[in-house]
Structures are given as C-alpha cells and as structure tokens.
C-alpha cells in the first residue's frame, strides 16, 4: 500500500533536487578573485571613520547599522511571537514543570529518582534537575553575566559586540534561572523584568537612531559627534543598548520555555 505512493512522489522530489543542484553549481564553482575594493577602503579608513579597531563592529554598527536595526527587530518579533505561540498553546511549557507526572520519561514513584536529584520536597518545580546542575549554574551565573557585559562593552576593540555579549548575558540569565532555587535572590530571572528591559532597550535603540536627525547629523548619524571628537562613543552606546535588548529578549524566551514564570 505504501510503496507505490513513495515511488510516485519520489520523482518530483528527485527532479527538484537535480534542478537545485544544477542552478547552484555555477555559483558554488565561481572562482573569480574575491573583490578587494571595500576591504582596502576599510583597512585604510575604517578605524578613522568609526573609531572601532574591530572592523566587523565598524561595519555592523557604523556603516551598516540600519541592517542591525532590522536584525534586532527580527529578534524582537521572533521572541514575542514564540512566547505568544507557546503561552497560547496553554502548554506544559508555559505552566512550568509543576507536576512531575507530566514530565515525559520521569516516573513520579520514589524509587526511580535520578541519583543526583534534590530532595523530593525541593524538587517540585525542577523535576529534571540535579544538585550538580543547580550548584554549578548558580556559581557560574554571575561570572557569565560579567563576561557578557565585557564582551558587550569591548566589542569595538576585540571580537564581540552587542549581539554576542547579549547572548552571553542571556545564558548568564538562564544559569541564574537554573541555579536559582525556590527562594529567589535575583529579579533578573523574572519574565516581567526581562520584558521591561527589552522594551525599554528597544525604545532607546529607536531613539538613538533618530537622535542624529534631531541633532542635525542625519538618520543613524552619530549624535555624540557634537560633544566629543571620539567617534567610537556611538558604537559603544549602540553595543550596550543592543546587548541589553538581546540579553533580555533571549533570556526572556529561555525563561519562558523553562517555565519558571509566566
């Protein structure tokens, strides 16, 4: 019964694969020398124009900052949409693993508790977690956060930047969320707080992008150039805002998926 349907539907699939391979082959095989015009320009003038030693940062937040704004917006919508879809599903994910019975593969009977688990009364909301995980993440969390801020703020000098730093910050938040036992010691793992940071950072980012217009420097122009001759100030500012936004956004999404709070 099944076999004929497989073979009859395989022909269009194979044709499509061959078509794709044939179309892409010229692009993949192209071996014209890579154009160096833009590279040479940046090597000469990138630092002078933007003040960033890291040329990738110079492009990312200087020459092509408008792309970065678009990318940030994609992230914003994706985080909001993902959380919206998950919570509206009324799922176990949104409510948290409050009921051990609902966790697949873990039997709630006393004997089969994994060996590293917490005592049962502490385990209510963390059926799948172990001492090891909780202790290690709780200790690592603040360190990871600190490192995240370092990556964020030094993005113009070294590999890194707002997005990368933000993602590290987000993983720090996830660590805090994992290590955080029932008694909460930080507000950073509360979804409401993260949502606020994200929204405020987004507003700041939009304001930063138009502040150049108000100060006569044009859209995405450097508003700080009026006050200081150091051009990298704007990149540092954008890095910090984007880092906060990304960290809060991705952290928010992870915390929501972890089911800590709604």
């Amino acid at each position: 019964m099944k076999r004929p349907s497989v073979t009859s539907s395989a022909i269009p699939l194979i044709t499509a694969m061959i078509a794709v391979a044939a179309v892409l082959l010229p692009i993949f095989l192209a071996d014209t020398p890579w154009p160096v015009g833009a590279r040479d320009y940046l090597q000469e003038n990138g630092f002078g124009d933007s003040g960033a030693i890291n040329l990738v940062s110079a492009i990312y937040l200087g020459y092509r900052a408008f792309d970065t704004l678009g990318e940030t917006i994609v992230l914003l919508v994706a985080v909001g949409g993902t959380i919206g879809i998950l919570t509206r599903s009324g799922a176990i994910l949104a409510e948290g693993y409050t009921n051990p019975d609902t966790v697949a593969g873990i039997d709630s009977s006393e004997e089969e508790i994994p060996s590293f688990s917490l005592a049962r009364e502490k385990r209510k909301s963390h059926a799948l977690r172990t001492h090891l995980l909780e202790v290690v993440t709780a200790i690592l969390g603040p360190i990871v956060l600190l490192f995240g801020f370092y990556v964020m703020l030094y993005g113009h000098l070294s590999p890194g930047g707002g997005f990368q730093g933000g993602v590290v910050v987000a993983s720090g938040i996830v660590f805090l969320g994992l290590g955080n036992r029932m008694e909460s010691s930080t507000k950073l793992t509360q979804a409401a707080v993260l949502g606020r940071i994200e929204a405020a950072a987004f507003l700041l980012l939009i304001l930063a992008s138009i502040s150049g217009i108000l100060l006569g420097k044009g859209f995405f122009g450097n508003p700080l150039s009026r006050f200081t001759a150091v051009p990298e100030g704007f990149i540092i500012m954008l890095n910090a805002i984007i880092g906060l936004k990304v960290g809060a956004g991705i952290g928010f999404m992870c915390i929501a998926i972890l089911g800590r709070e709604r």
Binding site: A38, R64, G70
Partner: protein, 113 residues
C-alpha cells in the same frame, strides 16, 4: 575548490531534508543546514583575500574582507530567530495534531476546518 563542493553537498543535504523528510522537526533542521551552508560559503570565500582577523591593532595588514563577516552576523541571527519561531509553530502543530508528520498534520488540520 574542495571546500565549496563540500558546502554545496551540505546545502543539498539540508535541502533534501526539507524536501523529503516527513517529520517537521527534521525539516526545520534542514532549513538550519542550508542557512549554515550559505553563511559558511560567504565567510570562507571572504577570508581568501587576507590572512589576519580584521582587528586593526598595530602592525596588522592584509586582513580578510570584514564585510562578509558583518553581513553573515546579521544572517545568522535572522536564521536563529526564524528557527525559533518555526520550532514554536511545530510545537503548536504537535499539540493540535498529536504528530510531527507533515501529512498527518495536514490531514488532521483539514479535517477540523
């Protein structure tokens, strides 16, 4: 040359996953694969013109082309966002249809509506 062929193969593997796999999670993996293939191609080829990372400290010359790296940074983040949204939708579909099989989902959903 050989890298580009390998990347093309990676791309085709991903595309065949989207095309021929019935499981929607595997389809999403396929999407991630082709996205990575495009990113890899851009970055690998862009690094041919120089030999050093584009961080202009003292004495650095002949850096690689930084533009592909900056562009691909954007493309990677967008890819991750799309993947996250796709996985959320897959979860929603699983709840509605009780299956990850695309044919099964289509059948159940169309029966309902």
């Amino acid at each position: 040359m050989i890298e580009r062929i390998l990347i093309l193969l990676l791309f085709l593997v991903g595309f065949s996953g989207i095309l021929a796999r019935k499981n929607i999670i595997k389809k999403i993996f396929g999407l991630t694969l082709i996205n990575s293939a495009a990113v890899l191609l851009f970055v690998v080829e862009g690094s041919r013109v120089g030999s050093q990372a584009p961080i202009m400290e003292q004495g650095i010359s002949q850096v690689v082309d930084p533009i592909p790296q900056a562009l691909m940074l954007t493309a990677i983040v967008i890819g991750v966002c799309v993947t996250a949204l796709a996985l959320a939708l897959a979860f929603r579909l699983y709840q509605a249809a009780g299956s990850f099989d695309i044919d099964e989902i289509r059948r159940r959903v169309h029966d309902e509506s």
